[in-house]
Amino acid sequence: MEALEFEDGYKIIEKGKQEPYVYIIKSGKVKVSLGTYETLLSEELPDVFGLEALIDDPYTETCIAVGTVKVIRCEKNEFKDIYVKTEVGKEALKSFMKRTAKALGWI
């Protein structure tokens, strides 16, 4: 698990690529593109992206730093062990579902 900082415009994860990392936003904003749907994630929840890594699937969304962004990058097992049973884990799943529902036009 490590703390990373990205500059504005940096592509943190890219749809179709498979990596073993889940990201938790500590400060700043991240633009998420899922199909034609776009949204901004921030540290408020705090928000998480890259959950696909937990099941060894390629990322299904592209996430780009908006301004300077600080994140915690976890290996999938670290996220499972530390966060899944916490509010961060629950909110991550809700946010993941919400983005999907928005992209599908359900909500």
Binding site: I55, V84, M97
Partner: protein, 243 residues
């Protein structure tokens, strides 16, 4: 638990997360249903986001459900959500260009195709009254023995009154009759494609047209049925979310 019938009622916010062990559960949104089976979760969206259900959720047959929670099923829930995303990507059709680019008129140029239909349909006579209500009355009064006249009048109706939703209904009903009574796939398909050309904003009629096109192409052994199947999936997903 084993259950048959209503699991959650319309307006209810699901407080329990059920996973399907066996059986079939039907979720309905905007009069369009989606059947869930083994390994899927009942009302996952509404449970996670705390949203009220738009309609009853029903076990269609004796169904075994097991109560679970987010922590226990974390990874499997992600798989289920990703399955939804995959449907979206697999059926990704550029909706801005859906009408022109994705209806697949085989090798024919769309204008040539429509001109052929035009020629075919003008073989049948029949004048459409200028008055909309009288036109509707006339079309509705025509029986099966005047099917081609009906086809011709319906075609004229949708061109003259493109904003009238009943035109989509006429096209679908007439296409079905042409297919059943005359077994004319060519005209039936043309009428159904007109629904998509004239009424792409009416998702329910477009869905019905696409599903029928899928059936017709499948029956004639044309692989294009798969394309319409994909389009139907997209429309179904849109209908589920547009209540």
């Amino acid at each position: 638990m084993r259950i048959e019938g209503v699991i959650f009622k319309k307006g209810e916010i699901p407080k329990t997360l059920f996973k399907i062990v066996s059986g079939t559960v039907r979720e309905t949104r905007n009069n369009t249903y989606h059947d869930l089976t083994k390994g899927e979760y009942v009302a996952l969206l509404e449970y996670l986001l705390g949203l009220p259900l738009e309609d009853d959720i029903i076990a269609l047959e004796e169904t075994e459900l097991v109560e679970t929670d987010i922590e226990s099923d974390y990874e499997n829930i992600i798989r289920n959500i990703l399955a939804l995303r995959k449907i979206m990507y697999q059926t990704s059709v550029d909706f801005e260009n859906l009408v022109l680019d994705d209806f697949n008129f085989e090798t024919e140029n769309i204008d040539e195709y429509l001109n052929q239909i035009e020629s075919l349909l003008t073989l049948s006579g029949g004048e459409l009254p200028e008055d909309k209500e009288k036109a509707i009355e006339l079309i509705e009064s025509l029986e099966e023995d005047k099917l081609f006249t009906k086809v011709n009048l319906v075609k004229k109706f949708v061109e003259r009154f493109p904003e009238e939703q009943i035109g989509a209904k006429f096209l679908i009903e007439t296409a079905a009759k042409v297919y059943i009574v005359l077994n004319d796939r060519y005209v039936a398909k043309a009428l159904l494609k007109k629904v998509l050309l004239y009424y792409p904003h009416l998702l329910d009629y477009s869905y019905e047209a696409v599903k029928t096109l899928e059936s017709i192409y499948k029956e004639e052994g044309n692989i294009i049925y798969r394309r319409y199947g994909k389009m139907a999936k997209v429309l179904e997903v849109m209908l589920r979310g547009s209540a």
